[in-house]
């Protein structure tokens, strides 16, 4: 339990999401518990057909088609998720001020899709830049998805993106917590979005790196910890959380998903792409310290593991080092079900585990047919869910390129 006062305790009171195979938390949780993969395929310019996670949601529920056309896919996903989160939280801005609401959206990258599309567009006109769209700059500025949310919801507080590779979702949550505690905002919409599936370059780069998953059955392509994995399945997706102070949440009788009690971020400072377990270990230890928790206090660890040999093994080493004697700690992986949603990964994966506080189930890691012996972990939940007596704490790992690590701890909210 947090040592902070109620005004400094930050809780999650709304979740809006779209993930491959689902467009709200109820559907998402059901798929995770049933181990139903959301992975299909995409046929990309220059790349051909590859496994990918694609989202289907009601794109015009909160915004007109013309606005979706003017904006970006990331903006479209962000607007949907932010609105869904506010509806879920029951916030209509009668008790909150739009000018004191912050929008913090994590991105692995932004602008790649739009730039590739525009280069292709002018290639149809002999590369005459007179045909380059005037929409390019507003679509590719890095605050684009957060800005599209602020315009759509008429939120006049701060909005910006958090660029943190695949740790970006967690980083945005941390930003929201910090801004709320500082009193800079009174309500925060935090999360992450990804439109990466629209970029042939992102697929091609992973392929060149030997890290792009391939499988004759797309649903079996994302297989972290499995001996026969062969890389990352790229997904689009988004998830936005409503964060507010505990006293304000209690005052309006809000349903509380959980309390963010600990977090940490650090840097490997050593390699562009290769992960480094010892620094991930330090990151998890720092998050535990901030939460005032011991490793054995953690009920569920949601691993970042993406399905690359080195990434999976380094994280397993780090988890084994921190949680060496924790028989009541269980480990799962959400990417096995939805692929790697990049900037949205951290928040989607956390969201998918939040219902465990009430249903007491740990969703399984799927496609784990032959465990890589280097990924042996005690209590790795495999292929079917595990039911526990209670779930009190979730530690969510997200790591990214350039050696950026994050860990966020969320606890079942106990008010006393």
């Amino acid at each position: 339990m947090s040592e902070h006062t109620f005004t400094q305790r930050i809780v999650i009171t709304g979740v809006g999401l779209t993930a491959p195979g689902s467009s709200n938390l109820t559907e998402f949780r059901a798929n995770l518990l049933a181990g139903i993969s959301g992975i299909s395929t995409i046929d990309l310019r220059y790349m051909g057909v590859h496994p990918a996670g694609l989202c289907q949601f009601e794109e015009t529920r909160y915004r007109k088609k013309r606005e979706n056309k003017r904006g970006t896919r990331a903006g479209c996903i962000g607007v949907y998720c932010a609105n869904e989160a506010l509806v879920d939280a029951g916030i209509d801005f009668s008790t909150y001020d739009r000018a004191a609401t912050g929008v913090y959206i994590g991105l692995t990258e932004h602008g790649t899709v739009e730039t590739e599309n525009e280069v292709y567009n002018i290639s149809q006109y002999d590369y005459n830049v007179d045909y380059w769209t005037h929409h390019h700059n507003p679509r590719t500025v890095l605050n684009n998805p957060a800005g599209e949310i602020s315009m759509n919801l008429q939120l006049t507080g701060p909005h910006y993106s958090i660029g943190a590779a695949c740790a970006a979702g967690n980083a945005a949550l941390i930003q929201g917590v910090q801004m709320l505690r500082l009193g800079e905002v009174e309500l925060a919409l935090c999360g992450g979005v990804s439109e990466c599936v629209g970029s042939f370059g992102i697929f091609a780069s992973f392929q060149a790196q030997g890290a792009l998953a391939a499988h004759s059955e797309p649903a079996r392509a994302s297989r972290p910890f499995d001996r026969d994995r062969n890389g990352i399945v790229i997904s689009e997706g988004g998830c936005v959380f409503v964060l507010e102070r505990l006293d304000r949440a209690l005052a309006r009788n809000a349903a509380i998903y959980g309390e963010i009690t600990g977090y940490a971020m650090n840097s490997d400072a050593r390699d562009f792409v290769l992960p480094y377990g010892p620094r991930q270990q330090q990151c998890m230890e720092a998050a535990l310290k901030k939460a005032g928790r011991m490793p054995a206090d953690i009920t569920i660890i949601n691993a970042h593991a993406t399905g690359t040999k080195q990434g999976d093994v380094e994280e397993c080493k780090a988890i084994r080092a921190v949680f060496s004697d924790c028989p009541a700690t269980w480990i799962n992986n959400t990417k096995s079900v939805i692929g790697h949603a990049m900037g949205a990964a951290g928040v989607l994966e956390l969201a998918g585990n939040l219902p465990a506080f009430t249903d007491h189930l740990v969703h399984p890691t799927i496609n784990l047919d032959n465990l890589d012996p280097d990924c042996t972990l005690p209590n790795l939940v495999t292929n079917t869910p595990v039911e526990l007596e209670r779930v009190d704490t979730i530690l969510n790992n997200s790591f990214g390129m350039l050696g950026i690590n994050s860990a966020v701890i969320v606890e079942r909210c106990v008010v006393c």
Partner: protein, 83 residues
Amino acid sequence: MTRNEIKDILLEIIADIDEEADFASLDADAPLRDQLDLDSMDFLDIVMELRKRYKLQIPEEEYPQLATLTSCVSYLEPKLKDV
């Protein structure tokens, strides 16, 4: 291209930008932006679409001539006469 054909092309381009655009009560001699939900970015979309379809380069100083549907047609008529 006749004046009527040019008018239809313009309305088609606008409808592609905003499928909810209502042309029923459109006054052809009043500014388009006063009657339809069009902003400067939409206006540039119209200019770009004309460029893509007919290789028309419309100089920025001539944009005011595209203010109304009638002025648009009059401006485009000589440029599209051989289309």
